[in-house]
């Protein structure tokens, strides 16, 4: 019996969504009570995990009293569909398993240097010229709609990232003049760099493009990237040098980067969107609005990530932690343990500061990942992040976690998820290849 207090069935989940629920199972009742439909979804998942079968095959559930709500409101997973194209089925399957783990944000790093699979209707050449194969390696408008709705039905927000001004090589072929031509001495070298920040055309393009993105993706937040901008190309370009002089930026290209991002942020704000950016935007002192969310991803530069969390929150910004959760960084052995033991609030700061940490994201960058190895690489390791972001801070005993996570892994197998083993052992139902 499910009782939801506040209607909202046809809405999209948001950062402020209330995911609380209580589950009461006894002789009198079997009641799932929640504030919102999102809480009900969380409760249903928990309920499904309470059911067990005896050796004879009978289903049972124990008398239970559960009161539950997440520790952090933003519990995300990043997928990179640019370095390798991921078929739509892979994305939808991932959303399913995210729901099993109570993840509630799908951070879709759609495009990057390598390819541009997002089918833009305002600039169709972006996809035609930038995708690996415009017939087969793209996400049509319909695909995107499907992902958003599939996610919504699981209480998962889709946070789309269109990373600029760096990581944009694939945008170049479809929008001539968008990227900065690099120079070798006094002549163009033939290669291109980040988005060209000195041209009006650039901002006209961004205006139109992000109007499209703002309408396609319903979440309040867009991720605007802003990471790893390589200044060498900008430096080499004489027009940019002239611009720098004119603006009085001197030799400080961070100021140019700042100039670009600020303009972009204003454009996006005008469309009624909030934004998340990578930490460089903060590190390079770009002037951003106070409600910007900063995603901390670098382990040691410019400072250890723990210190970075302190700096970001001290400056009054909300923070997302990803640095210790780069799941694409594989190593031999049970690395889920280190992942699990990360304490997001283990930095020096006031309670107000700590309240600014709204959560974190496990990242699965795509350089070495595609549909052949995505699922075993993601699960059950990402589950360790999921518990760290949902459960109470005190829940940190590795033995207890191992017991539950290895059991959960077998349950994932039973649900058809190709989750890899945590250590030696077996599941009653092993994975069978089709």
């Amino acid at each position: 019996m499910v009782l939801v207090v506040t209607p909202g069935c046809d809405q999209f989940p948001s950062l402020g969504s209330v995911e609380n629920y209580t589950l009461t199972i006894n002789d009198e009742q079997c009641l799932l009570l929640s504030e919102t439909v999102w809480g009900a979804l969380r409760g249903l998942e928990t309920f499904s995990q309470l059911i067990w079968r005896s050796p004879e095959g009978t289903f049972y559930v124990n008398k239970t009293d559960i009161e539950d709500f997440p520790r952090f409101p933003h519990r995300g997973l990043l997928l990179d569909t640019s370095r390798h194209y991921l078929p739509l089925a892979s994305i939808l399957d991932t959303l399913d398993v995210m729901a099993y783990n109570k993840f509630n944000v799908f951070h879709w790093h759609l495009v990057d240097d390598s390819s541009f699979p997002y089918e833009s209707f305002t600039f169709p050449d972006l996809t035609k010229k930038g995708s690996y194969n415009p017939a087969t390696h793209i996400y049509t408008a319909q695909d995107v709609k499907e992902v958003i709705e599939y996610a919504r039905l699981r209480g998962i927000r889709v946070l789309a990232e269109f990373d600029t001004p760096g990581h944009t090589l694939s945008w170049g072929p479809g929008v001539p003049g968008l990227l900065t031509p690099c120079y070798s001495g006094s002549h163009p070298s033939g290669t291109f760099g980040p988005v060209n920040p000195i041209l009006n055309n650039t901002y006209e393009f961004m205006s139109t493009f992000f109007l499209e993105i703002s309408t396609v993706f319903p979440d309040f937040y867009l991720h605007l990237g802003g990471d790893e901008v390589d200044f060498t190309c900008w430096k080499s370009n004489p027009d940019i040098q002239a611009f720098m002089k004119k603006k009085g930026f001197g030799d400080d290209f961070k100021k140019l980067e700042s100039f670009y991002i600020q303009t972009l942020l204003d454009i996006v704000s005008a469309y009624g969107k909030g934004y998340v950016v990578w930490q460089e935007v903060f590190d390079n002192k770009v002037k951003v609005r106070p409600d910007t969310i900063i995603q901390v991803w670098r382990e040691e530069i410019p400072v250890k990530y723990v210190k970075e969390m302190a700096l970001v929150t001290r400056a009054g910004f909300r923070a997302l932690l990803s640095a210790p959760w780069y799941l694409n960084h594989i190593t031999y052995g049970p690395d889920w343990k280190e992942i699990y033991l990360v304490e997001p609030l283990a930095f020096e700061g006031s309670p107000e500061q700590k309240a600014l940490v709204i959560g974190g994201e496990a990242c699965m960058w795509g350089e070495y990942v595609d549909s052949t190895n995505l699922v075993p690489r993601l699960w059950p390791r990402a589950g360790a992040v999921a518990e760290r972001l949902w459960s109470n801070k005190m829940v940190s005993n590795l033995d207890f976690a191992f017991k539950r996570l290895s059991h959960f892994r077998c349950e994932l197998l039973r649900r058809g998820v190709q989750a890899q083993p945590l250590s030696v052992g077996y599941c009653d139902m092993e994975f069978e290849q089709t």
Partner: protein, 546 residues
């Protein structure tokens, strides 16, 4: 999120291509045992054959008008199951994904490739099992309208069919094309293996069969089946059924005699030997569940502690048990070799046991517990010899002062003092299999295939005779963190790097060329249903068939 210069990769590729063209012209389009020039856009062979000569002349294949056939003078014919099955398989690998109807363009017959005629020169060995001396050499002459594949034995034909299938590609119209070529090929090392571990995690038979398929695509010819270990005993023994009844993870986590037969025959049809390993005296905890008194009871002070250690080497019952078990294993597994293990023996337990101490004194071993290990291993080695089989052991058996039977093969897995070990063991006259640099279960971030590829097996001090004792190597995929969910992407294409190192000539070392060929080979494996993971950023035409 490393910034990878997309431009950089393209540039070096361009330079390489330019370089190729220059050298190509200079050599008059011949290359034999020189730096591989896979400059033709779609020439993507893996592993690279001993000698490849190609011309720009294109031959067209039509799925409705192409056949594999036996030459009238071949010593093998349609009764040879190995070849008939292979013809069917390779037709499917080449044309199976063909979707569009036949084009109506008539191609002049000299330009069409209508048949691959297979000719086996010597006694084909069609109904035999492959072994360490099997001849895998072949000649492949690709010209229109009939190409010729010649080999001494069926094993060479299998290798040649794989190469032939790799020569065929489709242009943007979907037309099947092959370049006129002349290939002479044979492997550098005769033992090219993959180790799988079905004790730490049970591997369903389907997974093992898929692995055999992938091995054939990479010209691997030995599946080293580390079938039992501490954690579980999935091998269902007819003589000792309690071993798996009590020692397997569950009754559904077993390999029945039928399963084993299926694996052996599936392998045979691909020219792959099944090398079973029943590791002892260590790594045997699971044996004790179903066989009373076979393990040594460990002692604490002068009392049994309740725990058990390696196999008990002092009891006659042990040897009578082993003799019966290995008699069965000898019969079940047709290969000439059996792997006896012998690694990582925990001496502590033996040393603690009072009866063992007594035995050691009687035998005059003193305090040298290694002598007891040696005593045990020697008895098992003798058992195997008496069954007319040969043994392979892990290096500890030699290291811990083994006086090994002549002809025992030593498998080297420890990285420490690798070069010195290779010198010493071959100097002592024992054949050697190298695995140390190829532990594929030890994963790390990035393109580790490059490290595997760059290993040079004969890089140690020794005479030519010594170097000849290196019979090959094995890529090992231990099972602590591996089961059916992640085995295939973890094995492939990383193991492919080892495959080329063991098959191709030592001069084939260019990493850029290897990268180019291996990425295409990887896409080919994906197309053939092997979930081989990516080497790096990029894409395959056929994505997401997983």
């Amino acid at each position: 999120m490393e910034q990878r210069g997309l431009g950089m990769l393209r540039l070096s590729g361009l330079l390489a291509a330019l370089g190729m063209l220059v050298v190509q012209a200079a050599l008059g389009m011949q290359r034999e045992r020189t730096t591989p020039l896979s400059y033709w856009r779609d020439l993507n062979l893996w592993p690279l054959p001993l000698s490849v000569k190609t011309t720009p002349r294109l031959l067209y294949l039509s799925p409705g008008n192409f056949f594999f056939g036996h030459s009238p003078t071949s010593k093998a014919g349609p009764s040879c199951a190995v070849l008939q099955e292979a013809f069917r398989r390779y037709y499917d690998y080449i044309f199976g994904f063909y979707k569009w109807p036949l084009g109506s363009d008539k191609v002049p017959s000299a330009m069409e490739l209508q048949k691959l005629e297979v000719s086996v020169i010597m006694n084909p060995q069609c109904d035999s099992f492959p072994n360490i001396t099997s001849d895998e050499s072949y000649n492949l002459l690709v010209k229109g309208p009939v190409a010729k594949l010649t080999a001494n034995r069926v094993w060479g034909v299998l290798r040649g069919l794989e190469t032939f299938s790799q020569l065929i590609y489709q242009d943007s119209y979907g037309t099947f094309i092959a370049n006129e070529s002349n290939i002479v090929d044979s492997p550098r090392f005769p033992h090219r293996g993959i180790l799988i571990d079905t004790s730490r995690h049970f591997l369903p038979v389907k997974t093992i069969l898929k692995t055999l398929d992938a091995m054939a695509f990479n010209k691997f010819n030995v599946l080293h089946w580390h079938i039992v270990d501490d954690q579980s005993f999935p091998y269902q023994s007819i003589t000792f059924p309690e071993l798996s009844n009590k020692g397997s993870y569950s009754l559904s986590h077993v390999y029945t005699p039928n399963d084993v037969r299926t694996v052996i025959e599936y392998a045979r049809l691909r020219g792959i030997r099944i090398l079973p390993e029943f590791d002892s005296p260590g790594h045997t905890a699971s044996w004790g569940k179903g066989q009373k008194d076979v393990l040594t009871p460990c002692y604490h002070a002068r009392e049994p502690s309740g725990t058990f250690g390696p196999i008990n080497p002092i009891l006659n019952s042990t040897y009578s048990f082993l003799s019966q078990l290995f008699k069965e294993i000898s019969a079940v597994f047709p290969d000439e070799f059996i792997h006896l293990g012998g690694d990582e023996v925990n001496f502590g337990c033996w040393e603690s046991n009072l009866a063992v101490q007594h035995f050691m004194r009687n035998k005059g071993f003193g305090k040298k517990i290694e002598k007891l290990e040696s005593f045990y291993m020697q008895r098992v080695l003798d058992m195997i010899s008496a069954m007319n089989k040969r043994s392979i052991v892990w290096q500890e058996v030699y290291d811990d002062e083994g006086k090994l039977t002549q002809g025992t093969v030593v498998q080297i897995w420890k990285m420490g003092n690798l070069r010195m070990k290779l010198s010493n063991i071959t100097a002592a006259g024992f054949p050697v299999i190298i695995s140390a640099p190829w532990y594929l279960d030890v994963i790390s971030y990035g393109q580790d295939w490059r490290h595997y590829y760059s290993v040079e097996p004969l890089n140690f001090e020794g005479t030519r005779e010594q170097k000849q004792l290196v019979i090959g190597g094995e890529a090992c995929l231990w099972g602590e963190y591996v089961d059916a969910t992640n085995l295939t992407p973890r094995l492939w294409p990383r193991a492919s790097a080892v495959g080329e190192r063991l098959w191709s000539p030592p001069e084939v070392t260019d990493l850029d060329d290897a990268y180019r060929r291996l990425t295409r080979h990887r896409c080919r494996m994906v197309k053939r249903g092997i979930a081989a993971q990516p080497l790096f950023t990029g894409y395959c035409d056929h994505e997401g068939r997983m």
